[in-house]
């Protein structure tokens, strides 16, 4: 079995460890300082740097001669490829031309990664051109060659070795830094890939859990919808038969019996309303709200909604008044039944949370910009600022305790918000504890099907 290769142990060449362009600049400046050329080869003989100083004319002249050229190439092969050991020590190579090179391996972590070639320079003890050069051809011009040679720096051997040693030390530090950067980069890339892999695995698990939760949520919604439907059927019978009894279809009732049957019917209707709300919410959560749009006069709609809650308001001795200008409002293209339901929910809340003797006001405003607002203001118990953002959440009750004073399932405002947003509108609430609350519904003059499709289960809403 193949085990994973360690990224840190992967081999690197001299070229990998150096920024060759910057290093060439360093070599250039170094060669200019000492006025001697520098070459650097990697271990496979690839030339990384080649800086020539002073020898162009001399070598160029030799290169013009056939024999000179081949002798020159032999020297270059020697300098480039002859064994120089694995320790950072200089080896001298004499050129047939009388010039000299000193060569030192680039040693790093005990390995030779390449070699530095310092030269050509003229050995200090060279007094005249050697015969190996002067004899290369019959037409060789020794005077011209000597003049060219004078342009190449004359360096004592010990100095050349010292310079080379010094350069080798600098290069070793550069290689070390390069290696450090290379390993850091490799490890960094590897760590990022590893983290990415881990994240992908976690994402996969989260997606799996999310899928399961979505399926459970769908099953829950289906269950609630089915149960609500199943509950409504017998409940309608309970209400219907109660109504028949009250109308005397089953014979005359005593006043006590009338009262009891009346209570059965009233509670039955409360229950039916609650079940209808649950059905509405499940539809909203399932994204099945459909708007039936028409041009709607707002005043009759508001009066209709008010008449629905009027009996309860009277019972609590609350004053219900008309606020601004509902009669002057333009027609709104909306779902009449849903807007009426919204108002009824807000009014029912206002009645529930306003103590006896309080006032409830319903009004409307043309906001301009093709928008119309309906609002319900009460002088009720109000809502603390910290609870305001959550009142639109499904099942949220400001007082969620089992001993709470006010009943309700926490669906009313959630339904309102969903219906208003289905129209492309928005809901607002302002409140001061012990002073009262104002709930405002802002509708566009013309709701569109697109807005309806955008709405749904962000449904957050509250009391009642």
């Amino acid at each position: 079995m193949m085990l994973p290769q360690s990224v840190l142990q992967a081999p690197a060449t001299l070229g990998d460890l150096l920024d060759v362009k910057s290093f060439s600049e360093v070599c250039q400046s170094f060669a200019e300082l000492y006025r001697v050329g520098v070459k650097v080869f990697d271990i496979d003989g690839h030339k990384l740097v080649d800086v020539k100083v002073g020898n162009a004319d001399f070598c160029g002249y030799i290169w013009q001669q056939q024999e000179g050229r081949s002798a020159c190439m032999a020297t270059v092969q020697q300098v480039k490829g002859a064994p120089v050991g694995e320790e950072a020590k200089p080896t001298t190579f004499d050129c047939f031309s009388g010039c000299r090179y000193v060569v030192q391996p680039v040693v790093y972590e005990g390995d030779a990664l390449g070699r530095i070639v310092f030269g050509p320079f003229v050995p200090e003890d060279l007094t005249q051109l050697p015969t190996t050069l002067t004899n290369i051809s019959s037409g060789f011009d020794a005077a011209a060659a000597t003049a060219y040679l004078a342009k190449i720096r004359r360096v004592p051997q010990a100095t050349a070795e010292k310079i080379l040693h010094h350069f080798g030390e600098i290069l070793e530090v550069l290689v070390f830094s390069g290696h450090k950067n290379l390993l850091t980069a490799r490890l960094h890339i590897e760590a990022v890939q590893e983290s990415y892999r881990e994240l992908q695995e976690k994402n996969r698990q989260v997606e799996l859990s999310y899928g399961k939760l979505k399926e459970l949520d769908r099953l829950k919604s289906n269950f609630i919808a089915t149960m609500s439907h199943e509950l409504r059927t017998p409940l309608t019978s309970v209400i219907g038969y109660s109504e028949m009894m009250l109308e005397g279809l089953g014979g005359a009732l005593t006043s006590e019996q009338r009262e009891y049957v009346g209570i059965i019917m009233e509670k039955g209707e409360n229950l039916l309303q609650l079940i209808t709300s649950i059905l509405d919410i499940t539809k909203i959560e399932a994204g099945r709200v459909r708007l039936v749009l028409s041009d709607v006069e707002l005043e009759p709609l508001v009066r209709d909604a008010l008449s629905t809650v009027a009996p309860q308001a009277r019972k609590k001795n609350l004053t219900v008044t008309f606020g601004d200008v509902v009669g002057t409002l333009p027609k709104v293209h909306c779902d009449r039944e849903k807007v009426r339901q919204c108002l009824i929910n807000l009014l029912a809340n206002a009645v529930k949370f306003t103590p006896a003797g309080g006032t409830i006001t319903v009004g409307g405003k043309d906001l301009g910009d093709e928008r119309v607002a309906l609002y319900v203001t009460d002088t009720g118990i109000g809502i603390a600022a910290e609870n305001l953002p959550r009142v639109w959440d499904v099942f949220y009750q400001v007082d969620g305790s089992s001993t709470r004073e006010y009943g309700g399932a926490g669906l009313g405002l959630a339904i309102v918000k969903s219906f208003v947003e289905a129209h492309g509108g928005e809901v607002q609430v302002a409140s001061s504890p012990e002073q009262g609350s104002t709930f405002t519904l802002v509708f566009p003059r013309r709701a569109t099907g697109a807005a309806a499709a955008r709405s749904h289960p962000t449904a957050r809403s509250a009391a009642g």
């Binding site: 085990l3 994973p4 840190l8 790093y108 972590e109 005990g110 760590a191």
Partner: protein, 231 residues
């Protein structure tokens, strides 16, 4: 995983210092850097943060050429101990040939030690390395501090933990060489069994160890006098 190159006659090994944060892994490498002759080791590479916490790893190479002409290259790495560097630890551990587990000997550090031991086993598994076959030594470091486990505890530990347990005070250089020596002894035996260091490469255990430890300052260690210039 040991890399060997028949043509170049080279064997490259990886040794990792693993352990909880602040247990002294980097300190071990610093002490070894001070004690090993630069002839057989390279520079100590550290990749740390401003507050001297290891960011990626530390690394120090040790190398020699055997009498049979084989170049042996050992690289000693540390992992970053901080919990957040989990993926880096796993990557540094990739293909390791041996592990020195550096633990803080204080009783209060026992839970962290156990957690990192288990973390190491998990990361070895992720790298397809078998902890039962891998050479591992445990270094109980910081033995100079109060509340450390005593000799009795050490012996108890030795009975339940398979790896050799070596006491140390790395900050003073104590036990550091002994840890490396014990680990490299095991490493040689493991490699010898796997790739035949002695049979195929003609490197004996004695030579393997002496090539390194004859270049280590053994003064004050339990190895003084026992590891000589044997070649």
């Amino acid at each position: 995983m040991v890399a060997f190159n028949n043509e170049a006659r080279e064997v490259a090994l990886k040794v990792v210092y693993y352990g909880p944060a602040l247990s002294g892994k980097t300190t071990n490498l610093h002490a070894l850097h001070d004690k090993i002759d630069p002839k057989v080791r390279g520079r100590l590479m550290t990749l740390d943060t401003k507050d001297d916490r290891t960011l990626f790893f530390d690394m120090m190479p040790v190398f020699f050429r055997s009498a049979s002409g084989v170049k042996v290259k050992l690289k000693l790495y540390t992992v970053p101990g901080q919990v957040m560097h989990e993926s880096t630890r796993r990557i540094v551990l990739q293909g390791t040939d041996a592990i020195a587990f550096v633990a803080d000997a204080r009783r209060s550090e026992a839970p962290a030690t156990l957690a990192y031991w288990n973390n190491m086993l998990k990361n070895l598994e992720a790298n397809q390395l078998d902890p039962r076959e891998l050479p591992i030594v445990v270094q109980l470091n910081k033995r100079d501090l109060p509340d450390v486990r005593d000799e009795g505890d050490l012996q108890d530990l030795s009975r339940v933990v398979r790896p050799a347990v070596i006491p140390a005070v790395a900050i003073r250089g104590e036990g550091v060489v002994e840890t490396l020596h014990a680990l490299l002894t095991l490493t040689f035996r493991s490699l010898d069994a796997r790739i035949g260091l002695e049979r195929s490469w003609h490197i004996s255990e004695r030579e393997f160890l002496s090539q390194i430890f004859s270049h280590v300052d053994l003064r004050g260690t339990r190895l003084a006098g026992s590891v000589g210039a044997a070649r």
